[in-house]
């Protein structure tokens, strides 16, 4: 594979490079070493990355930077190039960012696979992209110094120009060819924070224009000569198999090319291949497919909740124990809160429906997909097609959202696309999951039940806490299981409780993970979607009982090392001081704070009840993400993240199953927030920090629902322990 000594970083042929680097891909399962969720603080392993794979200085001065992960709204396609361009002293107006294809060199430095998840993009690639920029700068200076016969130390750089000691100057584009022949420096000095001119400053997105004028191509927009469109009829109950279908009726539709039964990751389905989407859709609607559903479990939401509630009355596998579990028994019932919470399945429903395009022929395959897991998806396609991973060229397409839905360990969408393409050698096939396929197709945030027993001390603070969590494991049966399941507890189900920042003396957390016939998946902020709701509503209830200000109460209960949350709450108190205590009448303020993925967030919302629903008049966020690489993007992530999080409190914010079948079909039945539901303003304040940066995609999501519900409790005096929120 390519190494740090690859000399020609400016002129390397990308295809050649990818051939070189792809060879290592097959060994990746062996070296998989994912970061624990919530602890994205590791230092990337020392590795000199070949600038050849990341930077291409064109002779016209344009600097093309490869981004080693998917852009799907989180802003990484701007932030990582900012870090690189800053160290390189590149002219930002000349930077073009591209999404890198699948290749070993583009693996996440900590995860060991090419992926986006766990809010790790900036946390994991911060040093990497800075070093790449600094290396490129050093090579350009060395080329100029050699040309002018001066020492490199005598040169300086600014906006893609090297300046020499005797008024010499040369543009990067002019130096590119000679710089490419020089060795990559073994070590480089990174800038001090005071020397950074892009990082830390509000910087608008590089992908904005194309997304505003319709020219940005997403995966679903891939259009190739001779391309066909495929839809698949999936079983109505997960894992069921086709009994019969009417291929004649489907084939009678003009433009339909093929109709056939095919294996799925779960059960079997019927593929319809047509020239155009509409023909494929009409044909699928006419299949009259019958299914053998008798042999598979028929999950049912009501029955599952009943089963989960029973399980929650018994201790599960121990996730965390501190102090004495028995201490609860000596606390009188008047000093206890027993709370039971219920959370439904949730679908991600990113705006761009799931899709993948595959072209297969005897020499290999090409894939176009918006993927959070390029490594797994590339390997899955290779496996289906009987190819080696390096025979599969995998293009990373811009994705219209994802929120976890494009990070699927079983690569079921890519496997379907490859299975269909295998039958049609030489013909590119675009598999589209319609919105109905997506809403009904599983891979949901699991249902959860929490049962919590809290014992309150004389000072109103919790002194004993017994907590049982019931819900499916996200990672059982996946390559992540070995790392994330310990002693029968899936870390992603208990994160946010087991590692709470609150100093509770006697603390006992256990978990049950029932196996249910519903595919489940991480949903933006993963376990924190439910754990933060439970913790933050209970803490607020305790604060109310103690007649203590909710921010003061939290600050008192936080452990001394919860520095980020402390900073966030202190900043939130300062920024809301002018109005937080003056909300009266039909308005109340709710507060929540939570740390996830290494980033602290505190939130205050002003809420009233209108038409039996919470109306959010304003939200204020204080966030501590360490060093803020792009404050403008952080602001957007906070604003968007709280709106995404509100999906949980929407009246139709639930996926439910009845006798094995999903009851919602589309956004009419499963309805996320629209503009009328979202806060009118979301004010964002960033804690000033020079600490290592942590992620911002997921951390805003957990705080909003508990903050809203805490405000409602202050208005109505009731507690709200089940989501979605019933009428107030």
């Amino acid at each position: 594979m390519a190494t740090a000594t690859t000399p020609n970083f400016l002129e390397v042929n990308r295809r050649t490079f990818l051939r070189m680097s792809g060879a290592a891909a097959r060994g990746l399962f062996l070296s998989l070493h994912l970061a624990e969720p919530g602890h994205a603080r590791q230092t990337p392993k020392a590795q000199a990355y070949p600038p050849a794979a990341f930077i291409h200085v064109r002779s016209d001065g344009k600097i093309v930077i490869q981004v080693n992960r998917l852009e799907f709204g989180q802003g990484v396609q701007t932030a990582l190039p900012m870090l690189l361009a800053d160290e390189m002293d590149a002219d930002w107006s000349q930077v073009i960012a591209e999404l890198a294809p699948a290749a070993d060199v583009y693996s996440d430095p900590i995860a060991g696979i090419q992926m986006v998840g766990g809010s790790g993009s900036i946390a994991h690639s911060f040093e990497q992209y800075r070093q790449l920029g600094a290396s490129a700068r050093a090579m350009l200076i060395a080329a100029a110094a050699a040309q002018w016969n001066v020492m490199p130390e005598q040169c300086r750089t600014e906006a893609s120009v090297v300046y020499g000691p005797n008024s010499q100057s040369a543009k990067y584009g002019e130096l590119a060819e000679s710089a490419a022949k020089l060795p990559v420096p073994e070590s480089v000095q990174l800038k001090k924070e005071s020397e950074l001119h892009l990082s830390g400053k509000n910087t608008r997105r590089l992908d904005s224009r194309g997304k505003c004028n319709g020219s940005q191509k997403f995966g679903l927009d891939v259009d190739l000569p001779g391309m066909k469109v495929a839809l698949v009829a999936h079983p109505p109950v997960f894992g069921a198999r086709v009994k019969s279908f009417n291929a004649d009726a489907a084939r009678a539709i003009s433009g339909v090319r093929d109709v056939f039964e095919m294996p799925l990751v779960r059960g079997t389905g019927v593929a319809v291949v047509a020239d155009r989407f509409w023909a494929a859709k009409q044909a699928r609607d006419r299949l009259q497919a019958e299914w053998n559903t008798a042999s598979v479990e028929h999950p049912d939401t009501a029955q599952l909740f009943s089963k989960y509630r029973e399980l929650a009355r018994t201790a599960g596998n121990i996730a965390m124990t501190r102090g004495s579990a028995a201490s609860m028994d000596s606390i009188p019932s008047s000093k206890r809160i027993l709370a039971e919470y219920e959370f439904p399945f949730l679908a991600h429903t990113p705006m761009e429906p799931l899709n993948t395009t595959v072209r297969f022929d005897s020499s290999g395959a090409e894939v176009w997909a918006g993927s959070q897991f390029q490594t797994f998806d590339q390997m899955a396609v290779a496996e289906v097609l009987g190819l080696k991973a390096e025979q599969v060229t995998f293009h990373t397409e811009m994705a219209g959202g994802g929120f976890g839905r494009r990070a699927v360990a079983d690569s079921h969408v890519q496997r379907e696309a490859a299975t269909i393409a295998k039958r049609l050698p030489g013909i590119p096939v675009k598999l589209i999951w319609t919105r109905e396929d997506d809403v009904q197709g599983g891979y949901y945030r699991p249902m959860f039940v929490h049962r919590v027993d809290v014992g309150i001390g004389a000072d109103g603070m919790p002194i004993a806490w017994r907590h049982v969590i019931v819900g499916q494991s996200l990672v059982a049966g996946t390559p992540f299981a070995a790392r994330l399941i310990k002693d029968g507890v899936d870390a992603t189900a208990v994160e946010g409780v087991a590692d709470t920042a609150y100093a509770i003396q006697n603390f006992y957390v256990s978990a049950h993970h029932p196996e249910i016939n519903v595919p489940v998946l991480w949903w933006r902020s993963v376990g924190h979607t439910h754990t933060a709701f439970v913790m933050e509503t209970l803490i607020d209830e305790l604060a109310m009982r103690a007649k203590t200000d909710p921010i003061a109460y939290r600050l008192k209960l936080l452990s001394p090392d919860a520095k980020k949350l402390r900073a966030c709450l202190t900043l939130l108190r300062e920024k809301t001081a002018s109005w937080r205590d003056s909300a009266t009448g039909n308005r109340a303020v709710g507060v929540a704070s939570h740390e996830s993925f290494g980033t602290g967030v505190a939130c205050a919302v002003e809420v009233s009840v209108e038409n039996k629903r919470p109306k959010i008049h304003r939200a204020v966020i204080a966030v501590d993400p360490g060093f803020a690489v792009n404050p403008l993007s952080i602001e957007s992530q906070m604003q968007g993240g709280v709106t995404f999080g509100m999906t949980q409190v929407m009246p139709k914010g639930a996926i439910t199953l009845k006798d094995g079948r999903v009851e919602q079909r589309n956004w009419d039945g499963y309805t996320p927030p629209y503009i009328n539901d979202a806060p009118v303003t979301v004010e964002v304040h960033i804690v000033p920090s020079s600490e290592k940066p942590t992620g911002c995609g997921e951390p805003p999501v957990p705080v909003i629902s508990p903050a809203i519900v805490n405000a409602l409790s202050r208005l109505t005096g009731k507690r709200y322990r089940s989501l979605p929120l019933a009428e107030i």
Binding site: S208, G214, L220, P350, E352, S636, M646
Partner: protein, 154 residues
């Protein structure tokens, strides 16, 4: 299959398709104009919004046979539209987009709003933009951008 004469962004286009084909798929697949997006297929999300006869319309549920002689205007024409250009600039300037997939539809709804209501209130914005879903939750910035565009146009 039937042939339809369309006017799309001031250009005449002939397409031969099944009459039930939604305008969305004619734009995307036959006319290769992929700026208009498929999100739901049931007029629930607004990602497919175009102007038909000047009215913001969900192209995913409008059969091509019902378009008739009404001119169709899509996101691709907004850079050449007086109000469209200002809205696009406001969107860029306010750094509205995240994943960006819904934004063609958002912008088409916003342009229609500003053409009818040059000084929209928050309530006007909620009424006109209320059917455009954004899963990234860019609503706060959409609101700001519409107000900024209105100021610019005023």
């Amino acid at each position: 299959m039937e042939t339809f004469k369309l006017t799309v962004n001031c250009q005449q286009k002939d397409v031969t398709v099944d009459p039930s084909t939604p305008l969305l798929w004619v734009l995307r697949e036959d006319l290769k104009m992929s700026g208009t997006k498929y999100g739901c297929g049931i007029a629930a999300c607004g990602a497919c919004t175009v102007h038909v006869g000047g009215v913001p319309t969900r192209s995913c549920v409008l059969p091509i046979s019902l378009v008739g002689e009404r001119p169709v205007v899509t996101i691709e024409a907004m850079s050449n539209d007086t109000i469209g250009r200002v809205v696009e600039e406001a969107w860029v300037s306010e750094d509205v987009v995240q994943c960006g997939y819904c934004q063609s539809g958002q912008i088409m709804s916003a342009v229609a709003l500003l053409k009818a209501t040059p000084k929209p209130t928050d309530k006007d914005i909620e009424e006109s933009m209320g059917g455009n879903l954004c899963r990234c939750g860019t609503y706060v910035r959409i609101r700001q951008a519409i107000k900024a565009a209105a100021r610019q146009l005023g």
